[in-house]
Symmetry: D2
């Protein structure tokens, strides 16, 4: 039988994502509701190793639902990747009398939690928080919807100037291994072409498509490029290549970069974070461990972390077809 949970720790780890504060708030408030103590570790596993934490109550998280970033900060910890580092972390948890952890982050965070559980018996629940949406066991990760809107809003602005000048713009968005952001923001922004790491459509095809666009009278175009696209060129080389081959195009590049990680979370991300984290606390209260919470068909579901880590969250390639049809 599992030990009664008297104190829960929470942390955010990996790349930060909008909605992480809403998630922390929900963990803290749910703990208060279930009369369980709650502490927050700073800078992810690194703060755990250093025993750097703070007691959190309902008032500590006042109004943070509206803010981007994470009040607990985030970091990547090299030390935690060693057995010694994890032992130190477990020791600190014990000292702090923390009975279980809720880990908000991505794949790497979940793996860390699993190791902590297996090696030191700390019950862990993972909450998917990353703008990349590249985690199985959930349709959406916290921060993804906000990032999509940030990208679409930026491309809307670029389109204003593109249309005013008959220009071709290459816009690089985040997503080194997964095309979720590129694919959905590309459709949302009405991009003419979308390049994602999951599918190498070839340079030839891109040139043909741009030429066809132009012949049909389009004088400005937007191409959304995932930072990890497989076309073998980075976004600047791509623009150069197109300029050389289609000299009538005045091709420009914009790399959206870190603005995609920030900003006030959308309603979707706030509600998602709230629902996932109430569930995470309830799972721990019910004696569950080594699970992640996710939203599937609009219901909150728990999946084994191990299972989730072994599954790939694949982009819906049918969206490429939709994009093709709509950029007619």
């Amino acid at each position: 039988m599992s030990k009664k949970i008297r104190k829960i720790g929470v942390m955010t780890s990996g790349g930060d994502a909008p909605g992480m504060n809403a998630a922390i708030r929900a963990v803290v408030r749910a703990c208060a509701y279930y009369h369980t103590e709650c502490v927050g570790f700073y800078r992810g596993f690194q703060g755990m190793i250093e025993g750097d934490y703070v007691t959190l109550n309902a008032r500590s998280v006042r109004n943070i639902i509206t803010y981007g970033g994470t009040m607990l900060q985030s970091a990547r910890s090299k030390e935690f990747r060693t057995r010694e580092g994890r032992a130190k972390a477990a020791e600190k948890l014990k000292e702090a009398e923390v009975d279980a952890m809720i880990l908000i982050g991505g794949d790497g965070t979940f793996k860390g939690g699993l190791a902590l559980s297996e090696e030191h018996g700390v019950p862990c629940i993972g909450v998917p928080g990353t703008i990349d949406n590249d985690i199985a066991g959930t349709n959406y990760t916290i921060g993804y919807d906000t990032a999509l809107n940030t990208v679409v809003e930026a491309i809307d602005k670029i389109r204003d100037t593109a249309s005013s000048h008959n220009r071709l713009f290459f816009v690089e968005v985040m997503g080194r291994d997964a095309g979720f952001i590129a694919l959905n923001s590309g459709i949302g922004a009405g991009a003419e072409e979308i390049l994602i790491p999951e599918e190498d459509l070839g340079l030839e095809r891109l040139l043909n498509s741009l030429e066809r666009s132009r012949r049909s009278g389009k004088t400005s175009s937007i191409v959304v490029v995932s930072e990890g696209d497989k076309i073998g060129k980075n976004v600047f080389e791509l623009a150069e290549y197109v300029k050389e081959n289609l000299p009538y195009y005045d091709a420009k590049v914009t790399v959206l970069g870190h603005i995609q990680r920030g900003g006030r979370p959308t309603c979707f991300d706030r509600v998602l974070a709230s629902r996932l984290c109430v569930k995470a606390v309830e799972l721990l209260m019910d004696g569950k461990r080594d699970m992640m919470v996710g939203i599937i068909n609009n219901e909150i579901k728990a999946t084994g972390i191990r299972e989730a880590l072994q599954t790939e969250h694949k982009v819906n390639k049918d969206l490429l077809r939709i994009s093709d049809i709509l950029s007619t």
Copy 2:
């Protein structure tokens, strides 16, 4: 065997919703892709009766994906509710050589389409476009996500001033018969209480909750009220009642009103509109009729309009529980 579709008509009807333009664009572009003509009727069924339409091609819908409202305008038509009105409309469709219709709107719009199909044999496909999210056969309607964000953004602003002044705010949001907007925006905005038409929680409970909030040290509060709440009082009466019973509260009212219908659509609504409308065109090309398109578990599905109209899209009342936990 069904007649080959050579020309598709599209219209928007009922209350307008952000993303309707993205939907029109997707219908037009998908028609172009499938080498089918496309015309747009102005002001919903009323324009159909008056034969008021325009030919639409890929260029006509350039850039409209980013705009709120609907370029085809919307209206409610009394005349169409009569058998004569519908006969006139069918006559005009015939004159315009329109073989099938795509109807973007809510319940009333779908009923109109069904009548047109049954009485005059016009194949119709319904696309759920309304901020209220009160349609079965889909998890989300077009415009709902944008409206949620508009509401949350407005309440964030109200919270700034509420926190600065120790005030209690009653914020009325749309949703005469359904609490979707109130429930989700209320959780997203971190409201202390949410009143929805589906559940009468009683005035007593509201007073107790506000008093408890205050005793726990909260000095400002937000109560989100659905315009159709069942508590037996409108939002102004509610505020008066609270002021009389809890005189230490300086209760204010804000009715968000029509700003909830406008604004640039979110990425979610644009992608949803795009996917639904490509599917709507493809259903017609495949000889289907009297169906609506929806998104279920992130997949686009078709449901019979009649079936959808007979089913109620219910709010997830578990969200009230989540709200209670989080306003601890």
Copy 3:
């Protein structure tokens, strides 16, 4: 010779305005720069009377430049309007060893500061912070630019739905005694008519103008109404009156209300607040008192508070002419 200033108090008073936090930050940071202590009083004069204050240093105001509202909260104090109340406040200032005050607010706040200076010898500097822009001695008050953008953004949304439905919208904005917000947001939003308290244009003229609009083919219209308009009717009565006289119009009303006070401040308001408050601290360090700071022709200027209070900041009525020309 004036006493050396070792500790400065700061407070926000009256209606809150976006940019008040940026103003507090600038006072605090300028104090740190000039090696002067700084304390903040909560809830304006009321907190002063209660001796409710906090020591502020450069870290206390971290990141608040981006937030709406005021971290020191605001209130109106009846007690301070009495001689006894002010004596109590002066006593508390003495106890706290506060040598001078910076008061961020409107007319009423400035009057309070003047009384404190005259009756108890406390040097005061006023900083104009109010969305209403109704203070002489400055072209712009802190919060006004943000409020204008909030209003324009809201009317843009209303226009989306107005255009989609051929509707006439009456939009009530703040400004009981001054038409600054109505006039500038009305022009910015492209309103067809603007009603301000400074000028009663008459109902007849409004009806004529709306009728002319309609005859020229306009099917939707926006009328911006200052809450204190002199036309003798409130905005709901106005809409009824128009509906009775111009029955073809489907007139709707939206009262924007308190969303106008909140929101992240614009760049203009942040820079304005920063410049004004550095100057306010420097005036005190230079032995000045009973002045207000303002921006005139893009330069920061000091004016005697008494002089400013005796002068009226008038709206530029030429803007009504501009509005007439542009709603052609």
Copy 4:
């Protein structure tokens, strides 16, 4: 005596700026008000040379006040820089019976207008439209306020992630020759350092300041860099240099790029564009020529174009001092 003006041409030229559409609308509506015809030339001087224009009436500019970009498009024309090109343009104006031109753009645009007036007797009025604010004869140019807000909003997002990760961010903003955008957005965003082309503060000073920041406990910092900064390094080299010398900093770079040119104009830019362009039309109706319109101390003023071109609009370097004080 000057010839009666029966038809006015309008065009946008140079880099596009938010508010150009509001400016076009105001020209068109003011022409309608004064019973003067109005035509719009596409793509600036290039469209003039090609005789590519459209007749504009009050309805043509409906709702465009809310949109970024320019409906008349913009371009730079090499041909117009030759005497032959200008002769061709003048010929086309004559054919179109255009009596006078209103030119919306920057310095280059104004020079072109002057040449057209001197060589071919076409009365021209310049309207300052550029995000760079680098034109004398006006406190503000159309588009500048919107660009500032776009930059501040982007940096707010970057600060979310910077704070979450203890990072140093270099953010490059527009302004090759003038630091207006960097200086004002830097103060508005609470940047720790601001580098502008007008003042080389030296690398040494930057390192010292960052080191001091860090010692005082700041763990994240933003440095705003004008694209034309005089420090002798581009923004990527700068980041490398800092990383080498202050290895504890994880320095990142974001180049905001073309998003700064787009977006819905702020209220300020819309009102400014409206007032300037009504005045521009009125100047022509009064027989004036070769002037530019500007806003000075909140009043609309006309200045000779030649005089304006010979004067430099200087940034207020006192703002650097303000920035230093506030980043204490």
